[in-house]
Subunit: 211 residues, 2 copies
Amino acid sequence: MEKSHESTTIEMGETSKLERRGKAPLLGSTPAIAAVVGHNKGAAKNKKGIAIFDLVLRIAAIATSIGAAVGMGTAGETLPFFTQFFQFEAGYDDLPTFTFFVVAMSIVVGYLVLSIPFSIVCIARSHAVVPRLLLIIFDTAFVTLTTAAAGASAAIVYLAHNGNQDANWLAFCNQFGDFCQTTSGAVVAAFVTVVIFLLMVLLSAIALKRH
Amino acid sequence: MEKSHESTTIEMGETSKLERRGKAPLLGSTPAIAAVVGHNKGAAKNKKGIAIFDLVLRIAAIATSIGAAVGMGTAGETLPFFTQFFQFEAGYDDLPTFTFFVVAMSIVVGYLVLSIPFSIVCIARSHAVVPRLLLIIFDTAFVTLTTAAAGASAAIVYLAHNGNQDANWLAFCNQFGDFCQTTSGAVVAAFVTVVIFLLMVLLSAIALKRH
């Protein structure tokens, strides 16, 4: 009878380890159970911390990507002299790559705004797997779009600054200094967005692992 | 005594559910336990399938990224006519973006080769979390590098094909058709590598979730 009683106690401890998956623990007085519950709470807190940091990063990414899109979209310069037929002006729509940049960054802004509710769900229910999985997959897809836009525009900005003698492409930043500065800033903002995206993927992967 | 016996039986069932985390089950004769073990085996098989598919994709990515690097690195064309002072030739090192492309794709090839052992570890020990987490994080970082190289080169290849009237950059693909074709092929191979990378991240995320 002694032995049977002992095994019943062990059973309770083991059961409540299982119970932490969702149901309420049957007994909370044993120290072992308290330790388990405490550890569980610590993990949940940790996950909530990651989820909150993810939301903060997401808002920062919205700011930088709006900055990139608006910066590039409003970049333009009209030179103060003109001939009878020409007025010298530069705008983002003169270069197809910059147009792609504006479109891509606008799509990224849209995605980031739409992803905010999922990030909030991850905060509220820190054990939810599906929203986190969706976030990591779409984040990876959109980091690719952002990087493609940033990389392509960086190549063009480099050409605009330095030109290329072999291809006989002349730099135009001497004439359109303002335009070049604004577009360079937009490209930098896009690369900052890429870095924030990478941090978000890193956090999501760690949170998924801890599940 | 009857009741105590019943609770002991339940305990065994619950315990062996816990035991599947690593220790051998104490009793395997109960149908419930057999079902649990069967489900567990199915999940492990599923994970092994994902890990094998990951390895196959990784080898495919090595092939496409080597193709991209070598294709761009060997791209060159010398025109069949020359003046006393000039010989008209085009090579990837005439354009800094293409040089960046070759360097970046070589780094990606190196990373992919080094990642093969980790992928094999994921096949052999399908419950290992650390190698899979390392793979998903580094895959995401390197997909960014690949996309940046591919995007930047795509912008230059577009310029080489179409030129830009507003910036007065002339297309040179009429003269250097072969060179343009090879570089375009390399850029396409790089984008194929990006797609394979995205698939690998997707698979790793799903495998992490199933843990």
